[in-house]
Symmetry: C2
Subunit: 498 residues, 2 copies
C-alpha cells in the first residue's frame, strides 16, 4: 500500500507529517542573527553536522525539525542574552535538555533555534544537613545520583534515561518514574528554580528553604510547562538520605484482583519503606524474553508480574517485613511464584527487566505508545478494551506501569503503520480514560503529540487560563511553540494579536 | 505614656491602625446589594450581631474590619453567583475558612463582603485503595481526621487549630504544621482543586489522579495565594494510610550543636518513620510551666527541649529503632534527660506542651510574633541576635519551631506595646533572615501583616510577576484586597488602570 510506511523508520519532518500545523509568523534567521547569537555563546554554536542533526531529532526518532542553529550557553547570563535577542528579533526557540522527551517536546517543529542546556552542568551547592541541592539545569540525573551517593543522599526520583536526561528537563516535564510512591512528584521535592523568561529577564526563585510562604508559589508553574513559559536554568531540590537497606520482590500474580489485594496490603504492611510498585503483563514478559533474551526469572508463567521495592534505614527490619509480606501472599494464594532479592547486582539485573521494556517493545516493531493514568480498579478494564478494539491492527498490545499511581503504559505494536491509526487509537483510549476520570498523560507530558487532545483531561476554561498564562509570560510565543497548548492557541494566533 | 496601649487588648480597627492603607475604589454595599446577595444564599446571610462581629475579627484579636455582610453559601454554584454579582457591581470580598489566620488574611480590612465556607463541609468521595479524598472547602481538619481514621487512613498534615481550621484555608495558606518532615507540604499531597474565580466562573481542576501531566499545573498557583486569586471550593488530596505504630521522644539537650547532631542522626537512624522533629528553648519551657501549669516532664532543666515523633507500620521495629536511638544519644552525651513514650494518651499530653506554646505566650502578655525559616545551623544565631537587640523591650523572647524544615517562631513578649516596635523588630529580623537565605514567612503566610515586607524574600521581578498574575485572574482586584501583595499593588492601582 502506498500509504504504508517502512518498518525501518526514516524519520520524516514533523512539519510534513503535520501539514495542519503552520509555521508561526516568526522572523527567519539571518546570517547576522547567527553571528550575533554565536558570539553570545563564544563559539559554542553549531550550524551544521551530526550534532545539529541529532539535536533536530527526538530520542524515539519520530519527530524531526530543521533548525539551522544550536546554541550551547554556559551560564544563565548567556541564556538571558540569547532570549533577549530572540525576543527582540521575534525568533522562536526550543529549549533542549537530554532530548529524551517521549512527546516530541524537545525538538524543533520548524526552524526554531535550539538552546541546549547541556554545558550548564555545575553543582552549585549541597547542604549535607538539610539535603538541599542547588545545581544548573544541564546536570544529568545520573551525575547527580553519583554526587549525592558520596554524600549519603539520593535523588528523590529515578527514570529510565538517567544517563542522558537532565534535571532541567526533568522539572520542565514533571517527569514521574519509579519512586513517586515513596518521594512524591517533582512538586514535592522542589525548593526553588531560576528561570529565564521569554524576554530574557531572569526570575530568581532559588531558595533552599522547604517552608516559604511568601506570595504566590510561582515555581510550580514551570514544572510540567515543557519550556513554554521560561527556560529553567537552576534547580534547588530537597534530597532524601540514602537508604542503606534495599530489597525487591519479583512475583507472578494469578489475577488482577490479586494485584489490587497486594497493592492494598503493601500500603499497610510495607508502608513507609515501599519505594516502587510496578506491574506488567504476560505480553510484556514474552517481549522481554524474546527481544532482550532475558529469561523469565520465575519458574512458571503468570498473567501479571510485579516488582515491589523497598528502601529503609534498617536492613534487618526491612528484611523481616519483606519476608513476612511474601510468605503471607504465598499463604493467601495471591501469588503463583515469587522471590525476594537483596543483593545489589541481582536487583540491578531485575530492574533491567522493567527499565528495558521500551527497548523490548521497540525491537518488536513500530509501536503506538500511550501513557495514561487510570483509577487502580480500572487498569485492566481499559487495557482489555483497547485489546478488544485494536487487536486486528496489532501484533501485540503490551500493558505495564507504575501501578501505585495508576500509571498505565499501553503499547500497540503494529503490523503496519498508518497516519490514521494514531488518531483512531487516541480517540478511543482517551475518551475511555476521560470516562473513568483518568489522565491522558501520566508522566511524559503533552509536547506536540497530545496537544490537540488536552481537552480530554482539562475543561475548556482551564485550557483558556493556560493560554492566558502563556500570553502573560511569553507575549510573542517564542518559547517552544507548537507544543503543549492546543493548535488553536498557536503562536500565530497570539502573534496576530500583537 | 499616651502611645502606650493597654495590655488588655481591645482590638482597634485595622484601617485605623494602618492609615496608609486606603480603601480601594470599590462600590459601597447598598440595600439592594444586600437583598440580592442574601437571596443567593437563601437567607444564610448575616447583617448584624455576634456572628458578624466574630467574622470581622481575627483569632489573635489583632485585626478588625467593618464588613456589614456575611454570606454562608452551601454550594459552589452559590459561591459562583455571589462572585459573579460582586464582580459586576465592583464589590470587594474576603473569603473566610476557620478564621485562624495568624497574618490577618481572613478578615476584612474595610467593608469587604465576607464569604464564609463553613457550611460547605461535605465529604464528596474517598477511595480506600488510592487514598484520594475529595471534599468541600469548609470541612474542618479534625472532621477529616476523624473520617479518615475510620477508613484506616490519616491526613498528611496536622496543625494546632485542627478543630476550627478548614481544608480550604489550609490549602489557601499552604499551612505547614508538624508532619511536613514526613508527608511534605500541601504541594506534595494535592491532587486537585475546584476554584471559583473572581468573575464567578468555576475552574474545575478536580482529579483524583496522582500523575497528571496535562498542561500547566494550575492548581499549585492557588496554594498559598491566600484567597487572592480565587476561592477554593473543593479539594482533592492524597491521604496516607494510618500508621499503627506511633512513638515519641521527649528530650532535654545541652547545646545547639547537639540539636544539630541529633537531627542528622534522626534522618539516618529513624529515616522513613520520622514524623515530627520539634525544638523549643528553655524560655518556652518556663512559660509552659508557669502559664499552662504543666511541669517539666524531665527531671532537670536544659537549654533546649525536643519532641521527636515517629509513625510506622510495625510497632516492634519502630520500638527497637527508637530505643536504640535514645540509648545512643545518651551514650554520646548528646542529651541530658529524655524518655520514650508510646501510649496514646500520654503522647497526646506531651503534644499539648508543643501545641499550646501559643497559649502560654499569650498569657505572658502581648507578644510580637514572627515565623521565619532559616538554615538549620543559623537557627540559634538569629534567635540570639534578636535577644541581644531587643531584650530591653521584652519581658521574654521565646524561640521554637518545626526544626526539620528550619522553622523558627520568634515570640517577643513586651513590657508595653507600641506601633513602632513591630516595624523595628521586623526590619532587623527580616533583614537578617534575608542575609542568611531564609524566608520571612515559614508557614503563616503574608496576609496584611507582612505584605510590605515581601521584598525581603522575593526579588522585585517575582513580585511584579505576582502582580501580573493577580491582574490576570482578578482584573478588578475584588478578591481579598490589601492582602499578600505589597501596598503599591493595591486594588486602587489596578482599578485605576481599568
Amino acid at each position: 500500500m502506498a500509504e504504508e510506511l517502512s518498518t525501518k523508520w526514516e524519520t520524516p519532518l514533523t512539519s510534513e507529517q503535520n501539514p495542519h500545523i503552520k509555521r508561526g509568523r516568526y522572523s527567519h534567521l539571518t546570517q547576522t542573527d547567527k553571528d550575533v547569537l554565536s558570539r553570545i555563546v563564544e563559539g559554542r554554536a553549531c550550524t551544521s553536522g551530526k550534532e545539529l542533526a541529532d539535536a533536530n531529532i527526538d530520542w524515539l526518532r519520530i519527530y524531526r525539525g530543521t533548525s539551522p542553529l544550536l546554541l550551547k550557553p554556559k551560564s544563565t547570563w548567556e541564556v538571558s542574552k540569547i532570549l533577549g535577542y530572540c525576543h527582540n528579533r521575534n525568533l522562536a526557540v526550543v529549549p533542549q535538555g537530554g532530548n529524551t522527551s517521549l512527546a516530541g517536546g524537545s525538538v524543533p517543529m520548524f526552524d526554531e533555534v535550539i538552546i541546549s542546556l547541556k554545558l550548564m552542568d555545575k553543582i552549585i551547592s549541597f547542604n549535607n544537613l538539610s539535603g538541599a541541592l542547588v545545581c544548573e539545569a544541564g546536570c544529568t540525573l545520573q551525575s547527580l545520583m553519583d554526587f549525592l551517593d558520596a554524600e549519603g543522599y539520593t535523588m528523590p526520583y529515578r527514570i529510565g534515561p538517567k544517563d542522558t536526561c537532565q534535571i532541567g528537563g526533568n522539572m520542565s516535564t514533571n517527569c514521574g518514574g519509579m519512586h513517586v510512591v515513596r518521594y512524591g512528584s517533582r512538586h514535592a521535592a522542589i525548593l526553588g528554580l531560576e528561570v529565564v523568561l521569554a524576554d530574557g529577564s531572569i526570575l530568581d526563585l532559588v531558595t533552599t528553604m522547604k517552608k516559604d510562604n511568601t506570595g504566590y508559589h510561582l515555581k510550580h508553574l514551570f514544572l510540567g510547562a515543557e519550556g513554554t513559559l521560561g527556560i529553567i536554568t537552576k534547580v534547588s531540590l530537597e534530597c532524601p538520605v540514602k537508604s542503606p537497606s534495599q530489597h525487591m520482590l519479583f512475583i507472578g500474580v494469578p489475577s488482577f484482583q490479586d494485584v489490587l489485594k497486594i497493592f492494598k496490603k503493601a500500603k499497610y504492611d510495607l508502608g513507609e519503606i515501599l519505594s516502587a510498585f510496578e506491574v506488567f503483563d504476560e505480553t510484556v514478559m514474552k517481549l522481554i524474553n524474546k527481544n532482550l533474551k532475558l529469561p523469565n526469572p520465575l519458574s512458571g508463567e503468570s498473567p501479571y508480574y510485579m516488582i515491589i521495592a523497598t528502601a529503609g534505614s534498617n536492613r534487618r527490619h526491612d528484611d523481616e517485613k519483606m519476608n513476612a509480606f511474601l510468605s503471607q501472599l504465598e499463604k493467601e494464594g495471591a501469588i503463583q511464584n515469587g522471590f525476594k532479592e537483596s543483593r545489589a547486582e541481582a536487583m540491578k539485573m531485575l530492574w533491567s527487566y522493567r527499565e528495558n521494556i521500551g527497548v523490548a517493545v521497540k525491537r518488536a516493531g513500530f509501536a503506538y505508545k500511550y501513557d495514561v493514568t487510570v483509577p487502580h480498579d480500572k487498569y485492566v478494564q481499559i487495557l482489555t478494551e483497547v485489546k478488544t478494539q485494536f487487536s486486528h491492527l496489532s501484533s501485540c498490545i503490551a500493558g505495564f506501569g507504575h501501578f501505585a499511581e495508576g500509571g498505565l503504559h499501553v503499547n500497540l505494536v503494529t503490523f503496519r503503520t498508518h497516519p490514521s491509526f494514531s488518531k483512531l487509537i487516541e480517540s478511543f483510549l482517551f475518551r475511555r480514560v476521560k470516562d473513568v476520570g483518568g489522565s491522558i498523560s501520566s508522566e511524559v507530558g503533552i509536547g506536540v503529540q497530545r496537544r490537540d487532545s488536552l481537552h480530554y483531561s482539562k475543561p475548556i476554561n482551564a485550557i483558556n487560563l493556560m493560554k492566558k498564562m502563556k500570553t502573560l509570560l511569553d507575549r510573542k510565543s517564542i518559547l517552544n511553540p507548537y507544543k503543549l497548548l492546543p493548535s488553536n492557541l498557536d503562536g500565530q494566533e497570539l502573534l496576530s494579536k500583537l
